[in-house]
């Protein structure tokens, strides 16, 4: 979910882009406001891919200005405190409903999205991006969370979630330090609904059993790479896209699978913020984001999750690892997609994880 493939290079690229953008637009800002699209997103996550931004400016004359968030609650806070401050905002399948119910995003005019009919209906028409017959997010990319492992250590490749609980794997396992993800895997492992497990005690007991196996809790993709390379763990919960980047970009011996018991699926929708100063520009930018030309450049030059536009996926070479992973129909069927959580559920999952972590630390 938290897809910040932050590294220094991208950070610098983003920072420079932002700096240059502000410097150029600084003085005549009011006059040029119509020529701007303000985007709120994770840093280094596609919308600020430099070649894509440049091509968009060339096509439309609109420049792209970014603001970033580091957690979804922060994204909500920024939308609440800065109405009219953003045009486009990235909301995923968990947060889009919450944002639209609160009136933080406005309905999409699908007639302005020329690729609309091409988008995968499973995501495009999902209730997670629609509400009361209105569309509040344009399905953009989707991905998975499964298990990544060290190919040099595990031969043949494992294929179950239960592998993490293998008593032989003392101090070999890593988890993401994320309450919702941990509870989701605990729920899958105990055969419950991933998003709304009814028996949280069972989930807690199951995760507590991991005490001796867990050696590391990761927070960012960058952490994960470093500790994997340092052999702090051999097997871990991980995003599918990140596992691909670890293998192709960092040449680490990383294998990845969606467990037999089930895996976590997520997708992102690009939304138009309420009171957006440039709604037409926002629609044009979103349309560019689902354009096969943009997507293939992003995926091949920087690495991206799978596009929600099948035509964009077709445009990729057959050897592309994201295309290969996305076309594994059986694995995709095993996914449960993340759903909106109530404040109460989020609090209970967070408390459960805090309780487990306290027990781990004893």
């Amino acid at each position: 979910m938290t897809k910040i493939w932050s590294n220094r290079r991208q950070f610098l690229a983003g920072a420079t882009a932002l700096g240059v953008g502000t410097a150029i637009l600084g003085a005549p800002r009011v006059a040029r406001a119509a020529g701007e699209v303000k985007v709120l997103n994770w840093q280094g996550y596609g919308t600020d891919f430099q070649a894509g931004v440049d091509a968009f400016q060339k096509k439309t004359g609109l420049s792209v200005v970014h603001d970033y968030y580091t957690s979804e609650p922060e994204m909500m806070t920024k939308l609440r405190t800065n109405p009219g401050g953003y045009d486009v905002v990235l909301t995923n399948c968990v947060w889009n409903n919450l944002a639209s119910k609160e009136g933080l995003v406005q309905p999409i005019d699908t007639s302005k999205i020329s690729h609309w009919n091409d988008l995968n209906p499973a995501f495009r028409d999902s209730e997670r991006l629609n509400q009361d017959g209105k569309v509040y997010g344009v399905a953009w990319v989707w991905g998975t969370t499964g298990i990544a492992f060290n190919e040099d250590v595990y031969k043949p490749a494992p294929d179950t979630l239960a592998k993490l609980w293998d008593p032989a794997l003392k101090k070999k396992v890593a988890l993401r330090d994320d309450a919702v993800e941990v509870v989701s895997f605990g729920a899958i492992m105990t055969g419950q609904d991933m998003n709304h497990p009814t028996d949280l005690e069972k989930v807690k007991a199951k995760i507590l059993e991991l005490k001796d196996n867990v050696n590391y809790l990761w927070a960012s993709e960058d952490d994960w790479h470093k500790q994997f390379a340092a052999k702090a763990f051999d097997i871990s919960t991980m995003w599918g896209g990140a596992a691909i980047r670890a293998k192709t970009g960092f040449k680490l011996p990383v294998g990845f699978y969606i467990p037999k018991e089930g895996g976590i699926g997520w997708f992102d929708g690009l939304a138009v913020a309420k009171d957006a100063p440039n709604p037409d520009g926002a629609h044009a930018f979103i349309n560019w984001m689902v354009d096969p030309e943009f997507y293939t450049a992003w995926e091949t030059k920087e690495g991206a999750p799978a596009s929600a536009n099948p035509k964009a996926m077709e445009a990729l070479p057959d050897s592309d690892p994201t295309k290969v992973a996305a076309s594994d129909g059986d694995a995709v069927k095993r996914l449960q997609f993340m759903a909106p959580l109530s404040d109460d559920e989020r609090q209970r999952y967070s408390d459960l994880w805090a309780e487990v972590r306290t027990a781990f630390a004893k």
Binding site: M76, T77, R80, L175, A179, Q347, S350, A354, T358, A361
Partner: protein, 287 residues
């Protein structure tokens, strides 16, 4: 302007900016958070808020908060203790045994780590403590058959990292109070027949206690609220109240609970010093 008026004016003009600054940067945000901790919904959420004490009650109702707090307090205790055991002798040597240029050079070495970023210091410890890291590699170079040292992601790793980060506070505060002890007091004790150990125990240690206490305060308080060092060096085997407070702001967006937990922690710290205060006052630590 009479001399008296002039004096009042000068007090105001000299202290005014500092108090104004403190009021704006500390008092106002802190009051806002105190107010927030008494609400039942986060600010900015479009829902009417009501006053409640439920966020403070949660600390006692949820079973994990007490062990979690205890864990944080123990961490503060061990870190402070090791800082004292390592820092005090160093401060003593600097104040009483080493003179001139060498003292300046050694001071520089003590303060040097402060010039680097705290995060960088902690990350460099991960390279030292991990299996096949510096310590482990050095040991195997001497004793190839020795078992692997694997203390990264453990309680000792967190204590090592924190002691390294906070040690200079202890050395500097102890140095200042040791420096202030007149050597003739020690000579007098010796001439009255006291042995070296007795001189230390009866004269030097009691007189330097104010430095030890202020060092301990400067270390203990930030350590129990620390979250960066425990997270990086402790991995799954570290959990502090500070980490849970952060979670209330970034994951659950439950600002009121996060604020209430912060004030509960503040309360624990104040309670801790209230209990210690009579002991310290008697010893003249706050004099």
């Amino acid at each position: 302007m009479s001399p008296r008026q002039r004096q009042i004016w000068s007090i105001f003009s000299l202290t005014g900016p500092a108090y104004l600054w403190l009021a704006v940067t500390i008092f106002l945000p802190l009051s806002a958070m105190l107010y927030c901790s008494l609400l039942d919904t986060s600010p900015l959420v479009p829902r009417p808020a009501h006053f409640t004490l439920a966020n403070y009650a949660a600390f006692f109702q949820k079973s994990f908060y007490l062990p979690l707090t205890w864990w944080s307090l123990q961490l503060g205790f061990w870190t402070t203790l090791f800082c004292f055991l390592i820092g005090y002798p160093a401060a003593y040597a600097l104040a009483k045994k080493i003179k001139g240029r060498w003292r300046e050079a050694l001071f520089l070495l003590i303060v040097l780590p402060f010039w680097s970023n705290a995060l960088v210091r902690i990350f460099s410890w991960t390279m030292v403590l991990r299996p096949n890291g510096l310590i482990d590699a050095a040991l195997h170079w001497i004793l190839p058959e020795a078992p692997h040292i694997d203390i990264l992601f453990s309680y000792p790793a967190v204590v090592i990292g924190l002691v390294h980060s906070y040690l200079p506070y202890m050395i500097l505060t102890c140095y200042i109070s040791l420096q202030a002890i007149d050597d003739s007091l020690m000579e007098a004790a010796r001439s009255l027949g006291a042995e070296a150990w007795t001189v230390f125990r009866r004269v030097v240690l009691p007189l330097s206690l104010p430095g030890v206490v202020s060092g301990a305060v400067l270390i203990f308080v930030p350590v129990i609220g620390s979250f960066m060092e425990p997270r990086i060096l402790g991995g799954p085997r570290a959990v502090t109240l500070g980490m849970n407070i952060e979670e209330q702001f970034t994951v659950t967006s439950n600002w009121p609970l996060g604020a209430a937990l912060s004030f509960t922690m503040l309360g624990i710290v104040i309670l801790f010093f209230l209990v210690l205060y009579p002991v310290l006052k008697k010893r003249g630590a706050f004099a």
